[in-house]
């Protein structure tokens, strides 16, 4: 698995940590409810279709399943206008820099759904030399939809899970920093991350963690 810092062949530009602004951060609860209500039902979706799961994603966007009923709007003109990124399909190490870059271009608040076994953990390509073992090594993922490929209804279920999560969230600069793994406060513990602060924002797994045997679910 190639390191994500390979992404920065270009000179990495140290970007400031995204903030929501003091007014949004200290909004009282009724205002936050309204804000979250607006966010959860106008998710402009950015389709990162990479393999066969993308066909199921397109099926979910078409008339029969029609995820615009749930407030997911197909399709954003580009990542800069998108709120939700659905990574559906096999993420290869070759594609990884593009995913990371387009994710970085999305404005906050942004959400990611990992759709299908390949983008969850590599799936059938768990032993491949060229497949990234899960898109969550590159970007923070909010909802994992299992399946190979999942049904279109499974994506709708994942969207509902995401909307439940958005309804309960409190968006603040600190929450964003926490989700992104605390970029900008690179200490000596971060080690090699100091070279490319932009791409070490999200905690990325080491090779040993990728090949571990069995992880206990949290209790």
């Amino acid at each position: 698995m190639s390191d994500v810092s390979d992404v920065t062949h270009d000179r990495s530009v140290p970007l400031p940590m995204p903030r929501v602004g003091p007014v949004g951060e200290h909004a009282p609860k009724p205002i936050r409810v309204v804000l979250n209500w607006g966010r959860r039902y106008s998710l402009w979706v950015f389709n990162f279709g990479l393999a066969c799961c993308a066909i199921e994603f397109i099926a979910a966007s078409m008339g029969r399943h029609d995820f615009i009923r749930l407030g997911v709007i197909p399709f954003a003109p580009g990542p800069r206008q998108a709120d939700l990124m659905v990574v559906s399909g096999t993420v290869t190490d070759k594609m990884a820099p593009a995913i990371r870059r387009l994710y970085d271009q999305m404005p906050e608040p942004k959400y990611v759904i990992s759709f299908g076994a390949c983008s969850n953990s590599g799936g059938p390509y768990w032993d491949s030399y060229s497949v990234t073992k899960g898109v969550d090594q590159l970007i923070p993922v909010d909802v994992y939809v299992p399946g190979c490929p999942p049904r279109p209804e499974a994506l709708l279920h994942g969207i509902i899970r995401l909307q439940e999560q958005i309804a309960g969230e409190r968006l603040s600069g600190r929450a964003i920093a926490e989700r992104l793994g605390g970029a900008g406060r690179l200490g000596p513990a971060d080690g090699e991350g100091a070279a490319a602060p932009r791409y070490t924002a999200h905690r990325t797994g080491s090779a040993a963690e990728v090949t571990r045997a069995r992880v206990e679910p949290p209790r």
Partner: protein, 186 residues
Amino acid sequence: MNDETKRNGPTNKGLLPGILKGLATTAKTATRTTHTHEYPDVAPDLPPRSRGVIALLEENCTSCMLCARECPDWCIYIDSHKETVPATTEGGRDRQRNVLDNFSIDFSLCMYCGICIEVCPFDALFWSPQFEYAETDIRDLLHDKERLGGWMETVPPPPALDERAAEPAEVAAANKPARMPRGRAT
């Protein structure tokens, strides 16, 4: 070639036929019912063979590890230990039996090929059409044996046999007359 013919193309039909054509299409589809499935409100009608999730019938599992070894993704984790069952009769031999400690399937890795279900010699694994288990934490996609057992209630009954098919092996065996001891044949 003036501006209008450029816009409308070389046919030069004007604006009206296009509008009428569009209205006709609208009128045609307006009378049809929508074919949208109202998923969160109406449960989808899934065929019983649909591959949603794998259910475990723990009583049938002998922890023979065949499923874990045949799994192309190696996404089945089985731990078991042996237990000695003391002899029930005088002078009998102690027996050993496998006790299943842990049976987990990692559904973030599973490719839903069904080889584990095919290969299981004791019918401990079943397909269930249930698909609603998207998670916010990937570690929750590792279903332990309690959760896999919970899927059993969503497993549909097996499909009916074909007309004039041979009766199932279990029924045939039960209906066969018991073997008589030799010498007492009637």
